[in-house]
């Protein structure tokens, strides 16, 4: 069991949209903002590209947490990708928590290209939540 290993660090997958959140992460780096090194970033064209399977596959195959981040409402490069995504995410998050998955394993946020500081804060918060929950146990492929 992973819990028995001292100094456990969570693995968090962050799906960032190409136009806002990924650029926000880039800005955080360029600006030398510090944030926990627990995230593995996957760049996607738009938060609307996220298939719920991406999230479940991450949890099944070793991620302790998943973050999806896109452009703020109204800022989507494709005009409405994030609006459509928001409806999907609302239902998915509720469904997962209803089924008993811990609150905080799967999170969604908006980060724009100019919010490097906010990106660092979001990652810090997600990492802190996942650390408090401990390693993923549910849905994990044995």
């Amino acid at each position: 069991m992973k819990t028995e290993v001292s100094g456990w660090e969570p693995k968090i997958v962050a799906f960032l949209c190409n136009w806002c959140s990924y650029a926000g992460a880039d800005l955080a780096g360029v600006s030398r903002f510090q944030y926990p090194a627990n995230v593995r970033v996957i760049r996607v064209p738009c938060s609307g590209r996220i298939n719920p399977f991406f999230i479940l596959a991450c949890l099944q195959h070793g991620a302790d947490g998943v973050l999806v981040s896109g452009c703020h409402p109204g800022d989507c490069h494709y005009l409405s990708g994030n609006y459509s995504a928001r409806r999907k995410f609302a239902l998915l998050k509720r469904l997962l928590e209803y089924a008993g998955l811990e609150k905080g394993r799967v999170e969604f946020s908006w980060v724009s290209a100019s919010e490097g500081g906010r990106f660092a804060e979001v990652i810090a918060k997600v990492t802190e939540m996942v650390k408090a929950l401990g390693p993923a146990r549910k849905l994990v492929k044995k």
Partner: protein, 317 residues
């Protein structure tokens, strides 16, 4: 429940005689008592086979997709809801289907009758108003049909057809809108208990996909469970695979599930499938004000958006 069989036959015969449609989908008596089975009628004489009783539980909308000919379909409330969704999803052209709407008084759960009454094999039955008389070797028992309805029929707020071309029978009184009390009650339990319950349910699953095959809204050419490139979920019956299968099966029906209960009736392992489907239906109603299959005009909830959609679930920093 009034016997509408004669009336249905009459209407169907006329339709076939006048070549208004080529095919009629309805119910006929099954090979065993307490079973009615879908049937496909193409000529006038065969229309005599059509029946209507308390066991017409299949959702016939399942048979409408990819029909080359013009079809008439015998449809109760939930069937018409499924047809509405199929029309909206452009799977069934509206002008290619004649809906023979029938107000429904709920269908009877034969599994429950057999289990709860502990009778020997039922060989015959008769139905009059809301009384069911069951006969077998050395016994005759009369029960009230309304006490043995399927769970989905008990809470059903759309017993009457939501859309139809021909109506047979009188409209029945509708119940109050479903407030999903069972879902609220389940949600009030601690997360770990919910996890244990659903894990237990999905653990029964043998991945036969009968639920998918029976669902009137599952018509994808290639289902996600059959996909191998990429293979989204493993093919095993391990809890993590079956759990993800059931989550995603339900999610694919978000805002589309008409709660006909076909999945649960088809399930050989009696998995509590509707526990997930009803949660999504409740959320879609609460968040987006949409109820599947009730209107031909309202856009499907996941095909549209409002700029002010709720987003209190998003991470605030």
């Amino acid at each position: 429940m009034p016997d509408l069989s004669a009336k249905i036959r009459e209407v169907v015969q006329k339709m076939l005689r006048e070549q208004e449609v080529e095919l009629v989908i309805g119910f006929e008596q099954g090979s065993m008592p307490l079973h009615s089975t879908p049937c496909f009628i193409r000529n006038e004489e065969d229309a005599q086979r059509l029946v209507w009783n308390s066991f017409c539980d299949n959702n016939l909308a399942k048979y409408l997709v990819k029909r080359p000919e013009k079809v008439a379909i015998v449809a109760k409330g939930c069937d018409t809801r499924a047809i509405v969704e199929l029309i909206k999803e452009k799977q069934v052209p509206r002008d290619q289907v004649v809906i023979i709407g029938i107000p429904c008084q709920g269908m009877v759960d034969r599994r429950r009758i057999e289990a709860e009454l502990e009778l020997n094999e039922i060989l015959e039955y008769e139905e009059q108003d809301n009384k069911l008389t069951l006969k077998g070797d050395g016994f005759t028992k009369t029960v009230n049909r309304d006490e043995y309805l399927y769970p989905c029929c008990q809470a059903c707020p759309h017993k009457n057809p939501t859309t139809y071309d021909i109506l047979i029978g009188d409209m029945v009184a509708e119940q109050a809108p479903d407030q999903y009390p069972d879902i609220a009650e389940f949600e009030a339990k601690p997360p770990e208990e919910r996890w244990q319950y659903i894990s237990g349910e999905v653990n029964k699953c043998i991945r036969c996909y009968a639920c998918r095959n029976a669902c009137p809204l599952c018509y994808c050419k290639e289902c996600f469970v059959d996909k191998t490139h990429p293979q989204w979920i493993g093919k095993t019956t391990d809890t993590n695979d079956t759990f993800i299968f059931h989550l995603m099966r339900a999610f694919h029906l978000a805002g589309r599930c008409v709660e006909c209960g076909a999945c649960e009736r088809a399930c050989p392992m009696e998995v509590d499938i509707r526990k997930l489907n009803r949660k999504l239906a409740a959320d879609v109603k609460e968040l987006f004000g949409y109820e599947a299959g009730t209107s031909l005009d309202q856009i499907a909830p996941l095909a549209t958006f409002r700029p002010d959609d709720p987003e209190e679930f998003m991470l605030g920093v």
